[in-house]
Structure formats: structure tokens, C-alpha cells
Symmetry: C2
Subunit: 496 residues, 2 copies
């Protein structure tokens, strides 16, 4: 299917944009920051509209959209709410068919003026057959904008932070979750396709966007931040269609007293009972959580599974560590989450015994206590477990960073030769790549963890290569359990 | 009480140490790495003992402890288990009274040889009135070693990473949790006093160490990683005595089938039913969790509370954000955890209205949507809420990093003058310091959060100044709830 047939494509891939509400004050005016970010990745024409300024951030400014030399595909409006109807009408007259209305002060004000303004913009949109995102939103990010050329992107958010490119798309009823979590996402290796802050969903809602994502070849996994669901029936039908192919992860904000009050002030929505939402999520195969951090881990995990087609066939987990503490904690978490950590067969235990010292144990969890030989620990051991047919997934915990180790040795006065340094580069090609391939072949994912942090070089190298690595031991069992459950659901819906 | 009266003080603050099992191979020998780390912070004499080498890592080596020019306070033994009895006997003869036995291969082997070796070292220790940590451990870290001089420390672990100095002490039945979590701890601002990997607890156990920590003026908060409790009655009596003054946070590894198997291989311990442990923790006022990440957050939170004597008097939480999404998610978490997010009085709402735009809400959660004035948002607003008497704690979420913002402006071609740059330094002294003081005065903690990450400068500045800041929105409500519950417990045990 050609995405151009979907009217939303003109919002994700406009040829030109007119911008209302930007000036040259980058410190205080949100619209100015949004124009700056739009400029940074856009390749078409941008037309700032301003009643007085002739030049905005190096671009020629126009007094009105009627003066523009062409009809822009998209209007981006960041103006006080009372002015919005006027400029929207002007856009309609000019023939602009798509808009993002960032301005707040509509339905969510819950007063007569807010409601009246809402009715007015609804009518204008109907009159000119316009479709718009918002109001009360931050707009969109599209990393695949101008899709064959990955150096460009479309970004209407105000914080400037460009995520890594991938196939995770987020549709969010909170601008913060759509835009400001990019710091976190990039740090932990989530690779983004699109992110949409939908605001009040006055014209385009989550269902419209889900319909687009369903067909979008640049979207593999969808994340939803939900405060309300506007079209329940359509939402259920559509997500049930999507989830066997493209996993959906949702975080629901409502369900408690003050949270519901918060939602009313936020988007004017009526949040519902958490049990109802949980019921909907279960029925539609949507993975859900209350934790913003788990939300990102689940998206990353399912994106990895989808990209490499790794869907574990059961719930038997092998755990390999060099530490009894992390082995114990991850084993406990796995069991509490419904996964199995089975005792390995005598035969497998004997094979493992070859690679581990006497102080270690090969029963599962495998705790080697310390490695006799790094290659055996990092390659032979997981390979043996992976090929045994006794596990459906592997959690592997250790310290990998021998770059750091070499540095410490040199600082301590020891000598490090060139061969040792080469080992660091060889680590990826020799150690991780063949394992990664084997994991794909057997559909047995290997999740790595360790005590170091994402900003360490070694972790960044893992993430760059799509090798799932985690800081410490909470997230790996949780993510594995989500992947196992999703894979089971996927099979039950007849996909392999 | 003088800590010197406790026999463990000679393990934390030895005057001299002899080391068995180190050589010059820093890449492969654990003992060598341990010696390197010991050297790095120690100020007394270190005597490597080696049958052949004359010089180890720049230190004169001796063939036997009997040849040493003095009697060392402490012996550090990293040798194969069969050799341990021999050198321990020699240490006894020389008059060495304290030891750390790192070597594994004793009780945890669960065979006759392991049990026999255990009996032998027990007898030697009895014969010479020696006390030792281990075997099967990594030993100790003491950041306050040579206490009046903070440039020194005692460290027998093998990974080299020195945490920031503070008053959190960890006693752990896992070496990894004692030593390798330092990366994480330092990154998120946990300031450490001591950390002890207790191993098999053959001679010195958790109860002995708790008794030391109880009196230790350099310990405010205690973290425990538990796989078994050896002396249940003493443990319960002692921790019940400690917790009203010094909070204890525990993470228990056992309680599920495979986790119990893991523990048996790890330290040879018999783990018990999780319910029994939970019962013990509740009875003794110990804060507990299954999450390693929460473990560190709770320690950090209680250390902050203890240092500044901030113990909230109730469970009413005020939430201040510039984002409806984070407001909603934190409000929901607070409520799910038993905290209250009460609607503010009309009077307080009117006061708040002065500082926020029309699109915002002052009901609680306060969502300002965007700030009209940064100073009003970051200082006046929380100050007003804090002084209202309507809350017992505050969660404050926003983007603070205007260092980053200025950088973005400059990159975008905007101009940043000197006054703007000064603002960054003024931020701490003008904005945060007075609020911090006010928080202490009213015993109303303010927890900050935002989308940025601990490795960003601004977060590091917060952490350096003991201002509790969090990445995203999971940990602040959880940590606040732990603090509120602990404060309630503390009052119920008659401390204020």
C-alpha cells in the first residue's frame, strides 16, 4: 500500500510548511524553538508568517499566508488560542489542507470560551476539508521524512534532541512523553521512526494514527501513551488487527482519583476505570505497564524481536552469570514473572563443566564465579546453552568492558600490548556477531546485562549493533517475560 | 563509643596488610587486581607474600609471613582453597588476628572436601583467636579508612571504581552487589561509607557487622543483600534496635524454586520462604524490595533524609510539573502506593494562579504547561506550596538544564550574553539553596525529576549538592512513599 494515499502522509512528509508564532527570541518563545527544530531537518520551503518581522531566523517572513508564493502542504500554528480561528480560516482560503495546532486553551480549559473556540476550529476544518493534529500538542517527529534520504527529518517539538533512526513509533496524549523522553530513549538504544503528540485529538485521533502506522513500512512497533480512548470500538478492532504483526505497548495514565483529575486538566478527557483499560489491552494483545521506564524497555525489546524475527517458542530461560548475586536476583524475578529457570540435563551440565572452574555451577542459573577463559565464558558457554534445545531465551550477565580493564592495567603501571587492544575490536566481530546470528537462527534471544552504564563505550557499541544490553538486573527478566508472552500471543493469532 | 573497641575495626582500618595470591599479572589474576586496588588507597605497609617473586607491583615481596619485619594487622588471602589452611596457620603463628579469605571452594561446594576445609579454618581461627571475613567473598571497602584524611580508602575488591564518600554502608551476601554496583551507585549520587562482601560468613556474619554499623558514626543508613539469615533471633533484636535511628534497606534473593537452588550453589545457604523474610522485615522496620535499582534509590533517599533530618509528617504530596503526562503518571503512582495527592484549598490555588499561565492548573497536580517566568516556576511556586502547610512532600518535574538550552540557542545562530551564562551558576545559589533550606526547616522534602540523564552536567550538580534528582518518573513516587512510610515508623518508635 502506498502511504501517500493516507491523508496523514502530508503531515509526516509535507513538501512545504508555513509557521505561525515564531520569532527571533529563542530563549522565551516556544514557537521560535519549534521553527528552529523544524529548520534543522527539513528540506522543503518553510514560510514564517508574522505581522511585523521581515526576517525570522534567517528565513523571509510573510505578513499573511495569502501572500505566499505557493500553497504550503502544512500549517504549524503556535499562537494564542483566540487568534487561531483567524489564521486557520486564512489557511483554508489559501488551500492549505493539513495543520498542526500547537496552541493550548481549547477543550481542556473546560469553560465556555474554550468550548466555543473548539467549535469554531471544527467548523473551519469541515468547511475547507482540512485535517489537523491538536490543538494543545507539540506536533510530530518523523525520522524517515523524505524517506530515501536519512539525513533529513521532520521535527516540530521544542526541545532539540534527535533520536536514532529505527522503526518504533509513539502516539502520545502527552507532549512530554512524545518529545522529552528522547533523551532517555536514545541513551538506552531505542531507535525511533515517528512520534506524535496528539493533544486534544479534536480532528485527528489515536485511531486515525494507528491506521497509518498499521500500513507504514517504517513502523514495526507502536508505543501508546493513553489518557482516554475516544472511539472504543474502532480502537479495539484496529489494535486487534495490528498486534499479531506489529506489537503495541501502552502506558495508561488514568484509573486513580487524583490522576483522573490531572487528566481532566491536561486534555479535558474523561479517564476511565483502570480495570476497563486493562481488559481492553488484554483483549487486543496490547502489552501494558504503569512504568515509563518499562515502557521504553518493552518497545526496545519488541523492536529487536521484530527486526530479527526472534520470537522465543517457550518460557524456559537459561541464566549465565559470573556472579551468584545477579544470578539469584534475575532467577527470582523470572520465576515471579511466570518464566521457568529449569535445571539443565546431566548431559548439558557436563558440557558446561568444561568451561567453568570448580567453584562454579552449571545447573541453571549457571554461575561461573570467575572466568578461566574469557572466550569460553562469552562465546562457548552461551553457544552450548543456546544449541542445547533446553532453553527458549538466555540472560547473560557479566563485565564485558575489557577496554576499561586495559585502561586500569595501564594506569596501574602494567603493560598492554597491541594484541590486547585488537581484542576490543575483535570482540564484536568474533564474539558477538556469530552469537547474534545463532540467536536468530534458533529464535533464542540473548539479553546481556552488567553493572556498567549506557554511557560507557562498550554498552554504546552493543546498542549500535542492536545487541540488547541492560544496566543491572531488573529490566532483563521483565523484558524477557514480555517478549515470551507476546510471542505466545503472536503464535495464538497464527503468525510465526 | 569508640569504634576501636570493636574487633572489626582492625578489618576496616588496619595499620598494615599482608597479601597472599597477588602477582604481576593484572589481566588474569584476581588477587593481583585486588592488590592493585588495595595499594591505590592505603597508607600503611603492604606486604605481598609469594613463594618465588621478589617484587610485586613495585612492592618488596616476602616468601612467608614469618619473614615479615612486623606483625600485620590484617591478612588478605586470595589462594586456591587447599592452600588456605597452611597460610592461615602461619598468620596465626605470626600473631595476625584479622583476615579476609577471598578464596572460594569451601561450604558452597557442598562436598566432603569443602566441608573439611571449612572445619580446618574454623579450628585455626579458634586456636589463634582470629576473626575473618569470608571465605568466598571479595572483602571490604571503607571510604573512611584513616578517617580524618578523606584522600585514603581501603579497598580489597577487584573492580577498580571508587564511589563518592558518604554514610551509606552495604553488607552483602553477594560480592557483585557489594562491589560491582559502585558504577551505578556513583552515577545516581549514592554516597558510600563502607561495603562488605561477607561470603560464606564462616566467622564474621551479618549480625556482627550490623553491630559495628549500629555504633559507627560514619554510617547513617544500611543496605543488606540477603540470601539467608544465620542468627535469626539476634538479627531481629538487633535490627529492631537499629531501624528507628538508622534506616535499613534489604533486598532478599530467595523465595522461589530456582532462586533457592541458585543460593545453595552461591553461598551454600538454605534460603527460606519469602513470606517469612517479609514478616521479619516488617517486624523490624526494615524497608525491603525485590528490585536492585529501587534498592539504591531507597538507600539514597533515606541517606538524604537522615543527613538533613527531613522526615515528612504525613502522606500528602504536592506535584508540580510543566507536563500533564508526567503529572498524571506520578500522581497515579503516588496513589497506587498509598500516598495522597489532595486538591489544594481555594486560597492556595489562587496564590498558585499568579505564577502560571491560563492553560495551566493549580489544583494539584499543578501543571503549569509552560513557564511564563522561570524563577516563578522553579522557586516561587514550590515555595508557596511548601509553606502552605497543605503538603508533606513535593515532587517537582521539569527541564532545568538551561546550560543545554543556551548551547542550543548558540548552535542555532542565536546570541547568548554573559548575563545568561551567569544565570547557570546563580541557579544553585539563588534558586536551589534557599529551597533546600526551607525544605529542611519544614521537613517537607522536594524531589526533582526530569527527562534528562544523570550524566548531564545539571544533574551531576544537583547530586553533588545532595539535591534529590531522578531520571523520569518511576523512582520519585516510589522513593517518596518509602520515605513517608519510614518516617511514620520512626515516629511510632518515638524518634523525631
Amino acid at each position: 500500500m502506498c502511504m501517500k494515499d493516507n491523508y496523514l502522509d502530508e503531515i509526516f512528509n509535507p513538501e512545504s510548511v508555513c509557521v505561525f508564532g515564531a520569532n527571533n527570541n529563542l530563549l522565551e518563545t516556544m514557537g521560535s524553538m519549534q521553527l528552529r527544530n523544524l529548520k534543522s531537518g527539513f528540506k522543503g520551503n518553510i514560510y514564517p508568517i508574522h505581522p511585523r518581522l521581515e526576517n525570522i531566523q534567517g528565513l523571509k517572513a510573510y505578513r499573511s499566508v495569502s501572500e505566499l508564493p505557493e500553497t504550503p502542504t502544512l500549517a504549524l500554528i503556535i499562537l494564542p488560542p483566540r487568534v487561531v480561528p483567524h489564521v486557520l480560516e486564512e489557511c483554508g482560503e489559501k488551500g492549505v489542507k493539513r495543520a498542526i495546532i500547537v496552541s493550548g486553551g481549547f477543550r481542556e480549559r473546560r469553560d465556555e470560551e474554550g468550548l466555543e473556540l473548539t467549535r469554531v476550529i471544527d467548523n473551519i476544518a469541515r468547511k475547507y476539508s482540512m485535517r489537523f493534529i491538536g490543538p494543545n500538542c507539540l506536533g510530530v517527529y518523523n525520522g524517515w521524512y523524505g524517506s530515501d534520504d536519512t539525513s533529513h527529518y521532520l521535527m516540530t517539538f521544542w526541545p532539540y534532541f534527535i533520536p536514532d533512526l529505527g522503526k518504533v513509533s509513539i502516539i502520545s496524549q502527552s507532549g512530554t512523553i512524545a518529545a522529552q523522553t528522547f533523551w532517555y530513549a536514545k541513551n538506552m538504544g531505542l531507535k525511533m521512526s515517528k512520534s506524535i503528540s496528539v493533544g486534544n485529538e479534536q480532528n485527528v485521533d489515536m485511531v486515525d494514527l494507528l491506521r497509518y502506522m498499521k500500513d507504514d513500512p517504517q513502523t514495526d512497533v507502536i508505543g501508546l501513551y493513553i489518557e482516554e480512548i475516544k472511539r472504543g470500538k474502532e480502537f479495539i478492532e484496529l489494535t486487534r488487527e495490528i498486534t499479531p504483526d506489529k506489537p503495541i505497548v501502552a502506558i495508561y495514565g488514568g484509573g486513580t482519583k487524583a490522576a483522573t483529575r490531572s487528566i481532566q486538566s491536561h486534555t479535558g478527557a474523561m479517564a476511565g476505570n483502570a480495570k476497563i483499560f486493562e481488559g481492553v489491552f488484554k483483549e487486543t494483545g496490547i502489552v501494558f505497564t504503569d512504568s515509563i521506564i518499562d515502557f521504553f524497555y518493552y518497545l526496545r525489546t519488541l523492536s529487536y524481536a521484530k527486526k530479527y524475527n526472534i520470537f522465543p517458542k517457550g518460557k524456559r530461560i537459561g541464566i549465565i552469570t559470573e556472579s551468584g548475586g545477579s544470578a539469584t536476583l534475575m532467577t527470582k524475578k523470572c520465576e515471579l514473572l511466570g518464566l521457568k529457570v529449569p535445571i539443565f540435563s546431566k548431559q548439558l551440565q557436563e558440557q558446561i563443566a568444561e568451561y567453568i572452574p570448580l567453584t562454579g555451577t552449571g545447573k541453571n542459573p549457571v554461575d561461573i564465579t570467575f572466568f578461566k577463559n574469557f572466550y569460553e565464558f562469552v562465546v562457548k558457554l552461551p553457544k552450548t546453552v543456546l544449541k542445547s534445545g533446553e532453553v527458549d531465551g538466555i540472560l547473560f550477565d557479566g563485565i564485558f568492558d575489557f577496554g576499561e580493564i586495559l585502561e586500569i592495567i595501564e594506569k596501574g603501571g602494567g603493560s598492554v600490548d597491541e594484541n590486547m587492544k585488537k581484542m576490543i575490536n575483535l570482540f564484536y566481530t568474533t564474539f558477538l556477531k556469530p552469537l547474534h546470528r545463532l540467536a536468530i537462527k534458533h529464535s533464542v534471544p540473548i539479553f546481556y546485562s552488567g553493572p556498567q552504564l549506557y554511557y560507557y563505550n562498550i554498552y554504546r557499541e552493543f546498542l549500535k549493533r542492536d545487541i540488547p544490553i541492560f544496566e543491572l538486573w531488573d529490566a532483563p527478566p521483565k523484558s524477557m517475560s514480555i517478549l515470551v508472552k507476546y510471542s505466545e500471543y503472536r503464535r495464538s493469532r497464527n503468525r510465526n
